[in-house]
Amino acid sequence: MRYLALSLMMVMMLPSFAAAGYQEDFAREFLSKTWAGERIEENACIDCHSSDQMKPAFREITDEWKKSWHAKNNVFCQDCHGGDPKDPSLSMTHQRGFLGAPDARQVPEFCGKCHIGILKNYLESGHGKALRSTGKGPNCVVCHGSHNVQPANIEIINEQRCSKCHSYERAKVMKQALFLVEKKAGEITDGIKALRRAGIYTAEQERALFNTQAEFRTLFHTVDVSLVNERTDEFTRKLGAIERDIRGTFIELRSRKNFSAFLMALFSGMGVVIFLLSRPPNK
């Protein structure tokens, strides 16, 4: 009787394993319920602009945006352009605050809706004043792009970009002024990555780094080299504090390894002694 039950069970199991389509089924049944799994936001802007009906030039926009730092941080179309992302018929209406694409002169205020510290510095700078008075000059998009915006880095300042209106010399001087702080920030970023790999939760250090770096980079937008040089020390000091904190954590991790290795040695030692004691005494 029990052998019958056993063999029936085994026979039942085998064909079930052979069946296909398991992963989709599981995803559909377990992970797609409203209470399990993330909610995927529907966005009318993306739906239309990425469809086949849209002209290629506009279709590229959504692809570009998807690669951007904005996309990774949940900044969507409507956050800059206005409009209603939930209702396709109202998505580009005036009532829902749709702004369309800004022209070159309107770009600084467009991005400055959120990046207000940078806007303030920019408007006071040579670049901002040039754009205001002549309508020509580097606005945000010239250096940072429009839809595929990536985190800023020092290589945005290069010969090709910065010699369009004046000699590269000026830009080079600024790049040199920024260099030290940016390099240190890069080292700290690597240090944080190494800490994360070691399992440490680094939110505090990441915020401190972001805070300091953001303030420094906002300062750049004044394109005032003397100001940057003046305040480099202050920023270097702030970054130094973060660096010391990170180094301290590494030292702490090493001492932990040593302590647990010591405990391991103690237990292994006791094991060996017990084993030796258990052998019959040779008399």
Binding site: K113, A208, N211, A214, L266, G269, M270, L277, P281
Partner: protein, 136 residues
């Protein structure tokens, strides 16, 4: 028998060392932290902050701001934006605190009005003693 007594002695030694190696961490773990950073209080004279104005201070290494709000009195909040840590600035014209990094906006209670911050600004303990304001 000398070998056996040596081994037994060694075991006793190792065992005691192991015990101590655990007792010490247990003791350190349970012992109350050595004097919670005795928060140095920050003291400002009341007349240093006229109505509608504010004063930036540092309290326990945290940049903070003391506001003299018309109709609502004095309040001290941390200036560290709860989004990514930038320092908020006092916008007297619009009676609010604004973060220059991503336009996080707080009211003069520290509550979020708009923008990316996830939590309100933490308030600091403040009391008025006669003509002075004491934070902490």
């Amino acid at each position: 028998m000398k070998r056996r007594s040596f081994l037994k002695g060694l075991l006793a030694f190792l065992g005691t060392t192991t015990l101590v190696s655990f007792v010490y961490p247990i003791f350190r773990y349970l012992a109350p932290p050595a004097g919670t950073e005795t928060s140095k209080t920050v003291v400002i004279a009341k007349r240093d902050i006229p109505l509608g104005d504010a004063r930036e201070i540092v309290f326990n290494n945290v940049p903070a701001i003391v506001l003299n709000r018309p109709g609502k009195g004095l309040i001290a909040v941390s200036r560290v934006c709860t989004h990514l840590g930038c320092l908020v600035q006092y916008d007297a014209a619009n009676m609010r605190l604004v973060c220059p990094c991503h336009a996080g906006i707080y009211d003069l209670e520290g509550n979020i009005v708009s923008g990316p911050p996830p939590k309100p600004l933490p308030k600091l303990p403040l009391r008025v003693e006669g003509e002075t304001i004491v934070i902490g």
